[in-house]
Amino acid sequence: MIDFRGRIILDGATGSLLSERSGAPAGYRLEKLNVENPDVVYSVHRDYVDAGSNVIYTNTFGANPLKLGAETGEVIKAAIEIARKAAGGKAYVALDVGPLGKLIGEGGISFDEAYENYAAVIRAAEDKTDVIVIETMTDLADARIALLAAKENSSLPIMLSMSFEENGRSAFGTDIESFARTVSGMGVSAIGINCSVGPFQMLPMAEKLLSCTKLPVFIKPNAGMPRFENGRTVYDIDKVQFCDAMKKIHSLGVNILGGCCGTTPDYIRTLAEETAGVAERPEYRPVRALSSSTSTVIVEGMKVVGERINPTGKKVFQKALREGDFDYILAQGIEQAQSGADVLDVNVGLNGTDEKANMVRVVEGLQKVVSKPLVIDSSSPEVLEAALRRYNGKALINSVNGKKSSIDSVLPLAKKYGAAVVCLALDENGIPDTIEGRVAIGKMLVAECLKRGIEKEDIYVDTLTMAQSAQKGSAVCTLGALGEIKKTGAGTILGVSNISFGMPHREDINACFLSMAKDAGLDLAIINPSLINIKPSDYARDFLLDKQGAVEEYIAYAAKTDSVKTEELAPEGAPDMTKAIVGGMGSLAKETAEKLIKDMSPLDVAAKHIIPALDRVGELYESGKIFLPQLIAAADSAKQAFAVLEEKMKESGEAEGDRCFVLATVKGDIHDIGKNIVKAVVSNYGFKVIDLGRDVDYKTVLDAVEKNYPCVLGLSALMTTTAQNMADTIGLVRQKYPDLPVLVGGAVITPEYAKSIGGIYCKDANATVRELKKIFA
């Protein structure tokens, strides 16, 4: 076993020496010499072993099927045999893997083709070397594919080096830090820099590399800068100059040293003599980092994750996805990058579309036009993996949650692809209402990550933002949990915009919540980047802190800004019940019902007073004049009025309405706020609502329908993945009740999708009421 923490002398140039000793012309495939002239290859290896190399690279730099075709296997086997013989047990043998030399992606060969070519090389070597060294990579995509092929087709340790020019970037634009951050987590034993420049130019590069990885580092420079003279490449520094510079590199803490183009056994002998012992390197300072192939974002202070590459609730985006208009999607990425996003979230989950294919396409496309690191956002491990394979950087996975199945399927991906991961504070029991509950799940997930070898600085806990309008105390719970998680040293991330769902002037609330989250220690804010400069309002802050009367004050503030007059909602002459319900005054609604019921039947009170009031609420909500909290307050007030009527009906023995509505959030989905609003509104219209809850099994739905038939079924789903479960639920129920009307809704459901699964689309609670009225008419 090679001790990568020890001092290792690698070999020097093989190609330059082979050209010289064999007389092969420049551009000749020197790997063919393994078969045509094994003695000359042996002599080069042997000279390096004698000069003190502990590891020699096989003569297989360009030995791949794209360059050598059917000869590849034979050439590789011969190369290993020669190297083994020359090493004579005194040196380790490394299988040398160079770039394929083809463009990968559009216009060139496909990812899969590239992978297969590298895999063919690795398989041909049959693990008969001691280590695999992937070297002289200039394209990080190439390097990663070679690495994946090596990991998946061999059990040998892997060394990986890229080639950087004097400006510290590879020819494809990769910088040293992005290379190091990307590759360090992918299971390599040592990472390095070779070729392109001489040791003087490589000195600052080595220093940079050491600061960006805790892995052992290896450096293999050229003998200076190359010059071509009559078919020969000539280099400009001698072994003394070479070793002087290499001594400096060694003293930085680089203990694996060798030479590349232009160096000879003489250079290596001097190098071995003059760089004895293991030099200590400066202590590695771990940081939170995310990388693309050309830039790295160090997550210090709050960084912005652009949220707009996501079809949820965006009609134009959905249309673009359905129609394959990827330019539109990529332009979203560019715009966000220009308006200040540090990182871009990529979510293309939309029912009725091929998420995996779309994700791959968008990830590949974005990498060409923006240099910001990407967050791969999907609930499907398969989609995540497809994207991670092709993403040339250190990605952030969004997300894993506390469910065992999620932990078991997502965390191995983070480990394998060296990605950071978002941990959602929810589990089989849903999203805890308390700070303690969310912190407990967050901590459990951090422990699971650490157990699997994921570094602490690659973990971001999401304490989940829920709509403040639908759930009081939401902001305080989210931020409280965030603060607690922050104390443990894990990173934090939040989707910001959800906090303002259902409210007017959402940007005010978002800006305020963002500022509060930042104070609580938020590392990554998922938000529309154009919002980052909005000054938070005090009204929004009070609303989020649940201060007394703050909802009303905030809405009044927003209404003033909108110049909507509150009296417009329930004008002076309006019936008392309308004023009570529209104003969300439960006790007034109850009192009014009690007065009315003295002179008319309960059904008349409902039909002539409560229902018209609710209709008015519906109109106001739809026209954007009132918002979700008022809608809910109105529903609650109406409920109090109905309670009076029910009491009276029970007394007089009047039957409860037989218009039954069975309601459920489908299996696998725990987002049920929408369903709950539907329930509140619908029940006020005199329908009997059977609420089955959330994450409801298909069979439970069928049983409830059986029990309550004739009825109407209502299903909600918020995630693309669970939209399929909606289809399956309908499928099962329809086997027995082919004519059962099914109303469907939820953020990801579209009219087209609803139709395709045999459902009637309802965009919100009011639409549900309209459909129910039609069905029961």
Partner: protein, 211 residues
């Protein structure tokens, strides 16, 4: 390397076009990084064409043979402005197509101007020694096959030193990359115009090319 006035020849000369040209030049200036690998080598006549000694570089075709008449050696190189400008153009295509067009045009001129400079410097070096250099010739000119580009890359190790890659269609990436060869002679060389082998020679009004 290119001024907005040079670019305006293609874009138009009104104030709007000049402004576009200015922006394009500024963008290319920011992203272009000119680099090359260059070499000289003796020419050997082989049965099916000329070859550069000690290399795999073969120069096929009658047009290149005509240019190199009387030459016993060649100067050959591969030059690029790098991948950053390609990335910029890709991005602009999605956000500002007009600017993308202007930047693409400017980047093409940029790499050509860089090649002019390489050629000029080499000519000056040779003239000091009493030799002369023909104008440069690239794969795809006249009847020299585009496929020969691969052997320029191999012979110059341009994949290793410049990160040049070939597309399946034989195009070099970064897209603003040029490989070229010019003849070296002890005596005077053919001064033929580039137009002589240009595929557009029938339709060109002569107003674009510097020839």
């Amino acid at each position: 390397m290119i001024t907005e006035k040079q670019l305006a020849v293609y874009l138009g000369k009104d104030e709007g076009a000049l402004e576009l040209a200015r922006r394009a030049v500024a963008e290319v200036e920011k992203t272009a990084r000119c680099r090359c690998v260059e070499a000289t080598g003796r020419l050997i006549a082989e049965e099916d064409g000329l070859r550069v000694e000690n290399t795999v570089l073969k120069l096929y075709g009658n047009d290149i043979a005509r240019l190199l008449e009387g030459c016993d050696a060649v100067y050959y190189f591969c030059a690029t402005i790098g991948s950053e400008t390609d990335r910029l153009i890709e991005s602009l295509k999605l956000t500002d197509l007009t600017l993308a067009y202007a930047v693409d045009l400017c980047a093409g001129l940029w790499v050509d101007a860089y090649c002019d400079e390489l050629e000029k410097n080499q000519r000056a070096r040779l003239e000091e020694k009493g030799k002369s250099l023909t104008r440069r010739f690239s794969c795809g000119y006249g009847d020299m096959p585009l496929a020969s580009q691969a052997s320029f890359i191999d012979a110059l190790k341009a994949d290793k030193f410049l990160g040049i890659r070939m597309t399946e269609g034989g195009m070099m990436i970064p897209s603003k990359t040029v490989s070229a060869v010019a003849g070296i002679s002890d005596g005077p060389v053919n001064g033929g115009r580039r137009c002589d082998v240009c595929v557009k020679r029938g339709s060109c009004d002569g107003g674009i090319c510097s020839d």
